[in-house]
Symmetry: C2
Subunit: 208 residues, 2 copies
């Protein structure tokens, strides 16, 4: 039922899932290759090293993300009227949702991944994204600029990163939060509902 997937993809899938819920250092190549049902040595053969495998996991998943993001951003960029802050922030929702759905196993793997990457590599990940995905970041921020034209550049920078923190941190820990919420308020929420609750919070903060 799965012999169609290449060894490389099987490794990437297994690694992505395991990195997300155990962490990078806590996941051994043997655990990955066992789950992927491939030989241990194939990681080094196809990717060179564990470090490169980690990078490959990230690149694959960021690539997917910006492809989705592009589709959301384009119509707003082409609109004649300036978008609202809420509209701009909303371009993130659908990419996040659709990537969450087509994960085979458990949900919000990739957000946990992002959370880990930010926490574990003290700034390295921030710089990596600003180097390799600067284009999309700029498109996003320039729409934010249209939405809030009288906000100074440096203020913009800070509030953008405040928002980034809130989103990643919340989604990375969303499983735990959903559990607590379910226990305390008998309220069971979906990822989408969490996002919809998050957006007004962000927008208000951003416009503060």
């Amino acid at each position: 039922m799965s012999s169609k997937q290449s060894t490389k993809d099987r490794i990437l899938d297994a690694a992505e899932a395991l990195f997300a819920d155990r962490g990078f250092a806590e996941t051994s190549l043997r655990t990955i290759t066992n789950r992927a049902d491939v030989n241990l040595a194939s990681v080094n053969y196809h990717f060179g090293s564990k470090k490169s495998l980690i990078q490959a996991v990230f690149n694959r998943f960021l690539q997917k993300f910006v492809t989705h993001l592009d589709k959301e951003l384009t119509p707003i960029e082409q609109g004649l009227d300036a978008p609202s802050v809420e509209q701009v922030l909303h371009t993130l929702v659908k990419p996040l949702m659709s990537m969450d759905k087509d994960r085979h196993e458990g949900s919000s793997n990739f957000m946990k991944l992002l959370g880990r990457a930010y926490a574990e590599s003290q700034g390295h990940m921030r710089r990596f994204m600003q180097e390799h995905y600067a284009h999309y970041l700029r498109r996003f921020t320039s729409q934010l600029h249209r939405a809030a034209p009288n906000l100074a550049n440096n203020e913009m920078f800070w509030r953008l990163h405040f928002m980034l923190g809130t989103v990643i941190f919340t989604l990375a820990g969303s499983d735990a939060l959903h559990e607590i919420a379910a226990a305390d308020f008998k309220e069971s929420v979906t990822l989408e509902q969490t996002l919809e609750r998050l957006l007004p919070f962000l927008a208000a903060g951003f416009k503060s």
Copy 2:
């Protein structure tokens, strides 16, 4: 110049610093005991295991934090008039600042630590804090309730955790952010300034 510190404290200091900037799994007991200038076996002798050492590091630092927090919270609790949201949030600033100062080496170690703990232990840390420090969390939230009396319980819960995420995430990565800001805007900011910039953002989001 440092023979006064007990072995236990030397280990805790070294472990705290190393955990903060490398992570838990990435820091070996040998690295810790080398920096602390103590024998390798003394970690197991004094703490039992590496896991227990990690817990000990957290308990020591959370203990200090809530002691500071208590001093800030008390006068607000005794005030006859309801505090503002900003006032309540401000109770966090001074504890964070003073703990940042009396770290000997580099700054904001403990915030990186918190960030790591949240990211690496998938919800475990969130639950730990809600079990062991529920008292202080409740005092804090009940003041928030006074400040925003017409906010439903579950909404409160979510926005509280949104704010928590923003604070921890921002401060955990503050070194990297300060660097980028310095490079891009020739603006050099202190931790205190970042906090002061963060508070209005949080307050606005909370009141959204």
